[in-house]
Symmetry: C2
Subunit: 408 residues, 2 copies
Amino acid sequence: MTVDEQLAYLTKGCVDVVRTTELRTKLERSASTGTPLVVKVGFDPTAPDLHLGHTVLIRKMKHFQDLGHRVIFVIGDFTGMIGDPSSRSKTRPPLSVEEIAANAETYKAQVFTILDREKTIVDFNARWLSPLGAEGLIRLAARYNVAQMLERRDFKQRYETGKPIAVHEFLYPLAQAYDSVFLRADVELGGTDQLFNLNVGRDIMPSYGLEAQIVMTTPLLEGLDGVEKMSKSLGNYVGVTEPPGEMFGKLMSISDELMWRYYLLLTDWTTAAIDALRAQVAAGAVHPKQAKIDLAVEIVSGLVSAEAARRAAEAFAARFERGELAVDALPDIEITVPDVTIGLAKLVAEAGLASSTSEASRKIQQGGVRVDRERITDIKHRISVEKGSLVLEVGRRAAHVRLKPASG
Amino acid sequence: MTVDEQLAYLTKGCVDVVRTTELRTKLERSASTGTPLVVKVGFDPTAPDLHLGHTVLIRKMKHFQDLGHRVIFVIGDFTGMIGDPSSRSKTRPPLSVEEIAANAETYKAQVFTILDREKTIVDFNARWLSPLGAEGLIRLAARYNVAQMLERRDFKQRYETGKPIAVHEFLYPLAQAYDSVFLRADVELGGTDQLFNLNVGRDIMPSYGLEAQIVMTTPLLEGLDGVEKMSKSLGNYVGVTEPPGEMFGKLMSISDELMWRYYLLLTDWTTAAIDALRAQVAAGAVHPKQAKIDLAVEIVSGLVSAEAARRAAEAFAARFERGELAVDALPDIEITVPDVTIGLAKLVAEAGLASSTSEASRKIQQGGVRVDRERITDIKHRISVEKGSLVLEVGRRAAHVRLKPASG
């Protein structure tokens, strides 16, 4: 690749690149000296359960690996071991060393479906932040100004509206910035909401005699609805450890417009290749459904395997093109039924095929729900626990559901 | 003493007492349980060279000792070892452990003229602040808000006028506050410019399950001119290690009005006793000069000895009442003369008897300067280094000056 092509590949889909000219200089120097760039990405040490939204950033790390650079996956155990010291939130208790190690293993299992295990360094920032001591943290804090800190959007808003900002919240961006100093990062990647924090690293590095790192941010991925950002709580997500058939069905449910966004952010395709495919679809040379199948196959291949993707595609085709349902390829879900029967709407919601019971009711009413291939439109329909198991279809998604009595 | 009398004695001369009602409760509890109060005062570890302005605070510590309480003299070696990490100022380089220990000894030599050596605990805050580590400092910083910090007058002004505040400056008041937590202080004393910092300790103590400390501040002492605050650089000071005759002469030079202020802040006299003396002076029963001599004797007795004070008073009387000059009682000053002669004005300034050469010239012109008892009014007057030594009088102050050739 020429430097221009490398730049295009690396910045594809990014929201911010601070700055492209400096990135070019670093890439040229790296090529001429044969020294890979150090690319740093920080992750929260809380229990990871990744969905495709998270993979946008991880895939950007992969793009640097593809070009031979050195990617460091930094787990923020330093702050994780502190928890939320303001005690305002019960949701961030301190994590033990064992919990953090376990979470790191879960991260690895998930991210190594995308990243090259051999080329990825996993490190923990307590290794260099703890030894700073109280004295070192004060020296670090001397390198940044209160006014600069209050420029961060959420700090500014909270300050102006009288919502409290605890003093230690000013120390976290500085701790993260020190990660870049210690690792001598050439590039730091993060979500677009991390722009300020990443720039703090950029700002303080020169005071340590280091070249300022390049800051690159990736966007928040839209969920399957194409409107809200992808999130567990909104139910519009695809988890990276979901069964291949489930992933496939979810991906086939997205709009044609969203498909192009996913091509950009969830594959390694270059912008030029995506534009070419898009032109073919626009000209009628490729059916949009085929482009969507190709996308789903590519994503499932990357996260699971080419074989799993092929089987998911086949099962999908059998069901929707030939009316068959390959039960073997469906995700297997066990639901505990507290009573002798369970409402169908509740069952659909509990199986994760709708985000709530009321959404499930709406889908039943609209004729989108089938039980063992039979369409049910009565929202009061109930299913006996004695039925044992059933195949549940909701739109393009389907699952094999096993019912378990609560007292059993 | 009744509790009311104790309160009057302890709060005499204070600018702020936060809060008197709580101090009363603590004094009553201390009396009933027989447990002395813990009274904490922090001092900078930079080279101390105390003048009477500093003794106002030290004397307030003594008042607590007089009533049987436990005074802890905290030397801020934690921040002293860090220096000024913002590097904006060259004046605060980090101090070594040896320098801090040496400064502590100098402090002790000076403050034990006022405090009871047996009843005073000298401690160093790095003992508890260093072990906090980076993690502990973050937990500490979580206990205070940015908005509260920005209420401190100098922070507020700098923030509003766009002058930088480094983030670590927010950590120093918290470190000082933690001293109070660690020592379980009942009372913290400080100069009036420390009010905000002392209140931070008061604010965070309840979050550690401790009763909030009482905060008491002492005023800045006016210098000999009665206008500016006493300071080395303004030349309007009395150093605690100056020769007794020099101290005495300086104290006799103050105005009658300032005398009452010094009675309040530089002696252990109760307000009632001072008021009584003041009434006698007003009624003509006591001459103001006698009241001033009594004050000077009291201060010099406290800082040096009763014998030294008696001799200084005698020498002063001999000179100004009987026209004699007791050369033996004069401070002995050595001045290096770089040339074969030195201008009288320059000599007066170098001997510390005027704050500058131009002030010295003015005093010569006004007829206030004598050399070996002879009045000199020529501002161009020069003195030969070969003269060896001379008695220099400037107003009510006098010194024995020895001239030393520069190359000798």
